[in-house]
Every structure is written in structure tokens, then in C-alpha cells.
């Protein structure tokens, strides 16, 4: 068997090599692209939250809910799960460093910032980018024209993101609220806040990663689509090769089937040959992907080699392998040796009819007396198939009474005797067979 599998493989080595190459290139591209997406997600995650402290929950409301500072009455058991820490308004202000997103906090907020009027807290990113430190000044545009503010603090961006932070005594409208988880589980706190803020983005330390991934997915959706299309292409290419391989070898398969190979052994023969190119291709693709990533890292890309990305890349192409093996295997399973040897159509579907499709009131009495019926599919009183049994014949349960081929033999309908007994009804116009139970009558015939 192994020898035969290997000979099959060797005989079509050019095609097998092409398929191996296709799988290798696909796996390589999936690995590199997956690593790229993973890096983008990681960087965005860092940009978005920079690590919000684990007990803080940030709520960013939409315009229609601005100013809704009062929490709803808590309906759960125990203590209210959150406590209000602070709130601020988000706006964009014009500065001498360009237009910057800014968090304008109210003076009476509970946040312990100690910002006096005329002072500003800048994010670490801005401090690094523009070499600003505490004591420096930046200029912002107010209603009275440009005004100089003293850099009093540098914040890490965890709570405010990469925003300037200003204090303003007139800030009564708020669009961002910060809560500290007080009691109960995080999910209780989140549920409570979602009830209060029906339309809002609620962030906490754990949500950052999934948000980042969502954004990355949205930004790179054309790439994701291309990835699915590539996998679809690989599936179709592989299926085409395995199907043509099956058709080319159908005579050989018929001969080994005639020599006594069982169906599952035939499937193993097909699968054994078909599985080699994807297997080699996956191994080669992983090696090529690893090499490509090492090269990209050496040339300055901030990539991290993660085994998960390799696993996902390999797992993405294996459905193609399963489909490419399953369909030819299915043909082999349903094919008789005769069909393979003499190239008669192989049915894609075989149905067995062994009962009535619906109730026929006129048969109720006979059914009550133990008779069982099957009905052939008739077309204007004609049956387009073969009828093998007739009135008064004795039949065994499961014996074929008639066979019908549809779609040029692609579908076969077999009508089976519903029980052992004698055919007491054979209504040719309706295509109705009735079998009355007479098991003793069969004994001499089938002994």
C-alpha cells in the first residue's frame, strides 16, 4: 500500500511539486501577514491605553448623553459596584505644536492632579517627541488669543490617553467619566455602567486588547478578505488536482478494489498520496515564514515571532486539504468496481425509499391489518426506472423492489421492501407496492 502510494506520488511529481510550492507560499504569506497584523494590534493597543490601571473603568459617552453624570439606582445585591473618580471633556485645541486632543477637567473633579489655572499636563509621548519637560511652556489658542501655559506634569497616558490635560473652572459638560471598581466582579460593574450609559464606549484594562484587535480587523479588512480569497484559491486548486488525480487513476483504483481493497483502504490510498504535498508544503512554508520574519526583524521591523501565528497559518490551509481529500474519497466510497472499470456514472447521492411519503386514507384499513407500502415516483402514470418485483412475489425486508436513476445516473433512488412478506398490492398507475407480512411463506425459498 505504502509502495503504491509513493509510486502514485512519484508519477505525478511535477504536479505534486507545484502543489507543495503553492502550500508553502500560502503558509509563508499567512505567517508574515499574521505577524504583521499581530504587531499592528500590539502597537495600537499600546497607543490606545498604554495600560489603564486594572481597577479603573473609563466611559466615553456620545453627544446625546453628555453631562449625564448621575448614576442610576443600583438594582443588584450588596454595595454599588463603582465609585465616580472623575470626569472631563474632550476637545481639540490649537497649540504651537499643532492641533492636539485635550482633556479639559473640571476643578472639582476627584482626580488628584493639582493643576492650577495656567498649568498643563502633557503626555509622555509628546514630551519625548518635542523634548518638553516640566517647567517648559506651550502656547494654546483661547478665546482671548494665544496664551502660554506652564508644563506642570507629564502623565503616562494610561488614564487620559495621548492628550493634554487642562483644568477649567467653567467645565460643566463632560464626555468622559472615570470610575473605580468598588465591589463585586468586573462584569457586575460593567453591566451597571452599561445600564447607565446605554450608548458609550466602556474601556477597562482587559478590553483594550480586544478593542485594538477590532480596530485592526476593521482597518485591515481588505487584507483579511484577500487572505480568505487566497485560502479559497488554494482549496479550489488542490481540489482540482485531487479530482483530476482521481479521474486519472480510477482504473487503477478499480483494479485494486477488484483485487480486494476495502473502501477505507482505498480512501487511505487516496488520502496518503494527497496529504503529502500539503504536509511538505506546510513544513516548508513554516521554515520559509521563519526565515522571512528573521530577515524582516534584521532589517528593522518590530516583529515578534509567535508560534500561535504559525499554528493559525497552517490551520487555515488544512480545511482545503480536508475538502480536497474528502470529495474524491466520497466518489470512491459510492462507486462500485463496475462503475470505475467501465466508467459508468458514479452517483453523487443514493436515496432509499422504504415507506410512504404521506398518509393515503384509502390504505388505512390494510395498514391496520399489518400491510406496509412504498410508492414509486411516477410521472403521468410512467415510472422512469426498473421494477424487479410484481404481484404475489415474496420479498425480504430491504430487498430492492425498484430502482430509479435521475440526473443521468448521478442520483439513484432505491425502493426497498418495507417488511418481509408477500406483495399483495401492485398498483401500476400509482406506483404503489403493498407488502403483507407472511414470514413463514419465505422459509422454503430462502433457507
Amino acid at each position: 500500500m505504502m509502495q503504491l502510494t509513493w509510486r502514485f506520488f512519484k508519477k505525478s511529481w511535477r504536479v505534486q511539486l507545484a502543489i507543495t510550492g503553492l502550500f508553502a507560499v500560502s503558509v509563508t504569506l499567512l505567517i508574515v501577514y499574521g505577524t504583521y497584523l499581530e504587531r499592528e494590534g500590539r502597537l495600537l493597543h499600546l497607543k490606545m491605553l498604554g495600560g489603564l490601571p486594572h481597577d479603573l473603568i473609563r466611559v466615553q459617552v456620545r453627544a446625546e448623553q453628555e453631562g449625564a453624570t448621575s448614576l442610576r439606582r443600583y438594582q443588584g445585591a450588596g454595595e454599588v459596584p463603582v465609585v465616580h473618580v472623575g470626569s472631563w471633556r474632550v476637545e481639540v485645541v490649537q497649540t504651537n505644536y499643532g492641533n492636539l486632543p485635550t482633556a479639559v477637567i473640571a476643578e472639582d473633579t476627584g482626580l488628584d492632579l493639582h493643576l492650577e489655572p495656567g498649568e498643563v499636563s502633557i503626555p509622555q509621548v509628546m514630551s519625548t517627541e518635542h523634548s518638553l519637560s516640566v517647567g517648559d511652556q506651550i502656547r494654546i489658542k483661547t478665546t482671548n488669543g494665544f496664551e502660554s501655559l506652564l508644563v506642570a506634569q507629564i502623565h503616562d497616558g494610561a488614564v487620559f490617553g495621548n492628550r493634554l490635560v487642562l483644568s477649567d473652572s467653567s467645565n460643566s459638560m463632560s464626555s468622559v467619566f472615570l470610575y473605580r471598581r468598588q465591589a463585586g466582579s468586573l462584569s457586575d460593574a460593567l453591566a451597571y455602567l452599561r445600564r447607565t450609559y446605554s450608548v458609550a464606549e466602556i474601556d477597562h484594562a482587559g478590553s483594550a486588547q480586544s478593542s485594538a484587535q477590532k480596530i485592526v480587523s476593521a482597518v485591515y479588512s481588505p487584507g483579511q478578505r484577500a487572505r480568505f480569497e487566497a485560502i479559497g484559491f488554494v482549496t479550489i486548486a488542490f481540489l482540482t488536482v485531487t479530482l483530476f488525480g482521481f479521474l486519472e487513476k480510477r482504473k487503477v483504483l478499480a483494479v485494486v478494489k477488484a483485487l480486494g481493497l476495502r473502501t477505507r483502504e482505498l480512501v487511505a490510498l487516496i488520502a496518503g498520496e494527497a496529504v503529502l504535498p500539503p504536509l511538505f508544503g506546510s513544513i516548508l512554508g513554516c521554515a520559509m515564514g521563519y526565515g522571512a520574519l528573521q530577515w524582516l526583524i534584521a532589517s528593522g521591523q518590530e516583529f515578534t515571532i509567535a508560534t500561535g501565528v504559525f499554528a493559525v497559518a497552517v490551520a487555515s490551509i488544512w480545511p482545503a486539504v480536508v475538502i480536497g481529500i474528502a470529495i474524491p474519497s466520497r466518489f470512491t466510497q459510492v462507486a462500485t468496481v463496475n462503475q470505475l472499470l467501465f466508467e459508468r456514472p458514479i452517483p453523487l447521492h443514493t436515496a432509499i425509499v422504504k415507506e410512504l411519503p404521506r398518509r393515503y386514507a384509502g390504505l388505512d384499513v390494510q395498514i391496520a391489518q399489518g400491510a406496509r407500502f412504498v410508492k414509486l415516483a411516477m410521472d403521468q402514470g410512467q415510472f422512469d426506472g426498473f421494477v424487479f418485483r410484481g404481484l404475489n412475489d415474496y420479498v425480504k425486508q430491504g430487498e430492492v423492489l425498484a430502482v430509479e436513476e435521475r440526473w443521468w445516473g448521478m442520483q439513484v433512488i432505491e425502493y426497498h421492501a418495507p417488511q418481509t412478506g408477500q406483495i399483495t398490492v401492485f398498483e401500476q398507475e400509482m406506483g404503489l407496492f403493498g407488502v403483507a407480512p407472511e414470514p413463514r411463506a419465505l422459509e422454503p425459498k430462502y433457507r
Binding site: 509502495q3 503504491l4 487503477v252 483485487l259 480486494g260 462500485t336 468496481v337 463496475n338 426498473f386
Partner: protein, 226 residues
């Protein structure tokens, strides 16, 4: 009288060609063990269909076949496959050797299905190929062999697992007269030396002449000669 190794009970098989055509109609016959039986008839009379039913290659619409009292109808597809590999050998008109394998490997193949050790299989296959006169052609692939030689490899392959019965479908139909005589001589030789049972399907009465029993087929029906 020799005991029947195979018998059939009212075999029926029909095909659809616009109308119902019975290729095999109500055929009941018996094949004596240790003998050569010929099934003779003109083209299209249902001989090959009957052979595929006798060999368990196809299922009858109704009726049954018994090989050494084993009913085919009671066997699943896998059961039939096991029966074919252990008890039946086939010789086809167009040889049907595996083109990827050498003559030796073709003969070893059925033995690998029943788990014969590779060394034992190689020894037996070599012996069989020598007995059919191909001792010097072991490593040739089918394309490097003549029609007569390919058919002799096919006979060696059919004998590989020492089956109870060998079914041959027009075994000389594609051969020249010399090769034809060689092949027929081989059937007689293995029958006389080993008591091997053969069923030959042929349209040629001169091939049927080597048979101990002849069954004539016409329009799907069989009549046994004496």
C-alpha cells in the same frame, strides 16, 4: 460428479438504455470445483455482467451467488472485498496491471492485502512469474511487456493468493494466436497441476474447447451444456 464450488440462484441485473434491458435474467448455474468452466456467448449477451456478479464486483438486482456456500447477499461491501482478496482471482481482457509497478510488484500486490511478509511474497511472486515463463522480466513495468506477457503477469497475479476460483473475462480477446495458445496452456497447466478452478468468459468456441463444462448465454439467459 465434482462438487460445485460456486452456484447462483435466479440472478437478475438490468441496465437503463431508454428501456429496461436485462443483461442477466434469472440465471441459475453451478461451477464445479477443480475444473475449467467456459461461459460462451456472442457480444452483448450479458457474459461480462454475469462475471462481475460472480466476482462480487457488482450487486445483482435480485437473486444470489454462493461461493463455497457463502452467500454474497449477506455480505457487506467490506465483506465482499475480503472475499475477493482471499477467494477470487481475476484475469481481465485488457490485463489491468498497475502501470506504476513492475511485474514482480504487480504479483506481490494482492499478497500485501492479506498481510503476507514481503520476503515471502517476493519469493512466491518470483516463483509464479517463473512458472508463467517470465522469470527474466521481473523488473519490467507493463509498458515494457508485450500483450501476451502482460496477460501472463495478470494470471500470476490472479494466482498469488491461491484463490478458490479464478474468473477470466475474455482472457485471450486481445492477444495474437501464439500468445493466445500460451495463455490457454497456462490455464490448463495450473488446472492440472494445482487443481485450480477457472471460469473463462469468451465468445470464442475454440477457447471454450479447453473447458470441462460450457455454459452458453443468450439474451441474458444461461443454458448449461454437458
Amino acid at each position: 460428479m465434482t462438487e460445485a464450488i460456486m452456484r447462483t440462484e435466479r440472478l437478475n441485473k438490468a441496465f437503463s438504455l431508454g428501456e429496461t434491458i436485462y443483461a442477466v435474467s434469472d440465471v441459475s448455474l453451478s461451477i464445479p470445483g477443480g475444473r475449467i468452466t467456459a461461459i460462451v456467448g456472442p457480444s452483448g449477451c450479458g457474459k461480462s455482467t454475469l462475471l462481475s456478479l460472480l466476482g462480487g464486483l457488482d450487486r445483482p438486482m435480485s437473486g444470489d451467488v454462493f461461493l463455497e456456500n457463502q452467500s454474497y447477499r449477506s455480505l457487506s461491501e467490506d465483506g465482499l472485498a475480503l472475499l475477493r482478496r482471499r477467494k477470487l482471482g481475476y484475469v481481465f481482457q485488457f490485463f489491468n496491471l498497475i502501470p506504476h509497478l513492475t511485474a514482480l510488484e504487480n504479483v506481490m500486490l494482492p499478497m500485501s492485502f492479506i498481510g503476507v511478509k514481503r520476503s515471502d511474497a517476493k519469493a512466491r511472486a518470483t516463483d509464479l512469474l517463473e512458472r508463467v515463463g517470465l522469470g527474466k522480466r521481473l523488473s519490467h513495468v507493463p509498458l515494457q511487456l508485450s500483450g501476451g506477457e502482460q496477460q501472463r503477469v495478470a494470471i500470476a497475479r490472479a494466482l498469488a493468493n491461491s484463490p478458490a476460483l479464478i474468473l477470466a473475462d475474455e482472457p485471450t480477446g486481445n492477444l495474437d494466436s501464439k500468445s493466445r495458445n500460451d495463455v490457454l496452456n497456462l490455464f490448463e497447466k495450473f488446472n492440472q497441476e494445482n487443481g485450480q478452478t477457472f471460469v473463462l468468459i469468451t465468445h470464442d468456441d475454440s477457447v471454450a474447447a479447453i473447458a470441462h463444462k460450457t455454459i452458453r448465454m443468450s439474451d441474458g439467459q444461461a443454458v448449461e451444456d454437458q
